[in-house]
Subunit: 175 residues, 2 copies
Amino acid sequence: MARTRASSPSLDPMDGLAFLLSQVGAHAAARFAERLVPLELAPPHAGILKVIKRADGLSQQALGEKLGVFPSRLVALLDDLEKRGLVERRDSPTDRRSYALYLTDAGRDALEKLDRTAREHQDALCAALDESERAQLADYLARIAAQQQLTPGVHPGFRKLDRPEGRRGGSPGPC
Amino acid sequence: MARTRASSPSLDPMDGLAFLLSQVGAHAAARFAERLVPLELAPPHAGILKVIKRADGLSQQALGEKLGVFPSRLVALLDDLEKRGLVERRDSPTDRRSYALYLTDAGRDALEKLDRTAREHQDALCAALDESERAQLADYLARIAAQQQLTPGVHPGFRKLDRPEGRRGGSPGPC
DNA sequence: TATTGTTATACTCTATAACTATA
DNA sequence: TATAGTTATAGAGTATAACAATA
């Protein structure tokens, strides 16, 4: 067999770039989840807190759509956060069926701790790269994410297809 | 608040590099699993076929250790592959408790199809990058993987800790 | 009749424990 | 007594379906 094409960095496609992405990505996710344990949070909680902070007063419906999480699953996740006093379910002033979600002061504190944790995590994870290499890596990944139509800030989890709901509004928007 | 440190490519740590790695990695894994469906294989099967190819005749014990998969889980995965005629469990000549695992001809065919699929997957995934950028990205990821002590070719899945068994032999080795 | 949030249920994936047959 | 493979069981995590209150 002639060596096809230019120097591919590795020979076996299963040890290739796609595998590396998946391997390092899974590692990153697992280590992040680990760091969240002392905060008594799981990764989905983190995403929820972040979205509520940016869109105070939104409904569970809206939250679930933004994160690609099923309504029934949101109930349990929000129960956790409410029980711990990080999130409040206030009655919506306009629609008595729905709630308006708000961060409490404790919720804002938790979000700050969470941001610190995420920063530490990222530093530890990328210890092998210097500052400019990290920027270059982030650029590559952002370009892949954009080309693959991943919604910024939304983790695919393990959905079969990203974006289970048909609609994905035109603007990549704030979140 | 003064802007601390140099230009970080993104402001919010949850939209940072670590998140991108996890997001793109999960996407890569999901799309790969999708491409495996027509082959009637799941990602763990792929890893198993690959290891058996490289280490013909090894035991389930050895296989499980190499992949970080529990023995009980291997049973079902190997049952799948054996039922489909891709893998053979031969009696070990030296120890009647254990099997020696071998790829069948059909198994080798499947592995080839799998390699093609992986190549197509990688091409589609990295469409946003040209050849030299892909090489650069692979280098970054390989360096992170090495620094984080990930075993080459072994997917962390979602284990709490990588490397559940204590021993990890000195050499990063063939697989 | 449609929608919001809820509950109950089921399914997938993975880990733990107990068992058997060898060693 | 310890080990290889197996079986049975249980636990996450997530999706589906049916339901009550409201629109």
